[in-house]
């Protein structure tokens, strides 16, 4: 299997062609169902493979850092995009856990929030977030990530 030339101009059937290793794998974390659907579609339209999680604990499990992680289920993820305000563990706390992990600290983490609070933004960036994005997300925001 040689490197393909990528999808041709109008290729949009993400479920059909199996593109191995080509697409970035993004983990999207958000407790809001509508926002999860939106971010998933935005990322898929940018040719990303997407896994969603509805809270930070599920995300940690998926990443291999949780208490419930099963052997052999840890997947490689190229980017994590998470909402800031979530019940239980916030996106900020999730960011800290990721950056504390030798396994995952190199994975870029993007924080999203509907609230434009400068102290919140600098707090996240200082903790190592790659980017802070304001919700609602648009296509131009996602294009930036690639």
């Amino acid at each position: 299997m040689g490197g393909s030339a990528g999808g041709c101009g109008d290729s949009s059937s993400e479920d059909k062609a199996v593109k191995l290793g080509d697409e970035p794998h993004v983990l999207a974390v958000d407790d809001n169902l509508i926002d999860r659907k939106l971010v998933e579609k935005l990322l898929k339209n940018s040719s990303c493979k997407v896994t969603t999680a509805e809270n930070a604990l599920r995300a940690l499990d998926y990443l291999g850092l949780g208490n419930e992680t099963l052997e052999g289920t840890v997947s490689k993820v190229n980017l994590i995009i998470t909402d800031y305000c979530m019940p239980g563990m916030t996106g900020y706390e999730l960011l800290k856990k990721i950056k504390e992990s030798s396994l995952l600290k190199e994975v870029p983490v993007v924080i999203m929030s509907s609230e434009n609070i400068p102290t919140r933004i600098s707090q996240c960036l200082e903790e190592g977030a790659k980017m802070f994005m304001l919700k609602p997300l648009k296509q131009s925001d996602v294009v930036q990530l690639k």
């Binding site: 479920d15 169902l33 509508i34 659907k37 935005l42 339209n45 609602p136």
Partner: protein
Amino acid sequence: MEVVQIQRNLVDYTKSLFMEGFLDGQFLQLQQLQDESNPDFVAEVVSLFFDDSQKLLNELTIALDQPIVDFKKVDAHVHQLKGSSSSIGAQKVKNACIAFRNFCEVQNIEGCLTCLQQVKLEYYLAKNKFETLFRLEQQIVASGGSIPMIEMGF
């Protein structure tokens, strides 16, 4: 009715929704995400929004009816509703939620109750508008036509 006429009706109707402030630019973002591989994306997301919002409105009614109101809980629900309405471009619902959160912050129960009524009203209006929109789209598709893209000068 001619397909062309229904298409024109759809365009006019959609434009009016923007002019009247029911929809904002985020709705256009949703429409742009729709493609042949996912032709019902907008309808699906809006439908999820209806179901989700209905639950939140029920929760809010119950929460505000308690002898001692848990404003943190109320605020959390309104925050969710504000988020989803913002994400689909339902501007009036979103704005009603912003006002609501202000009253939660100062723990003003009367203000909250009034806001809840307002949010419910805006929600039902929005639901109605979206349903009309999708009905027009369905009529066009059923007649073999294609959904016209709206050009807005944003």
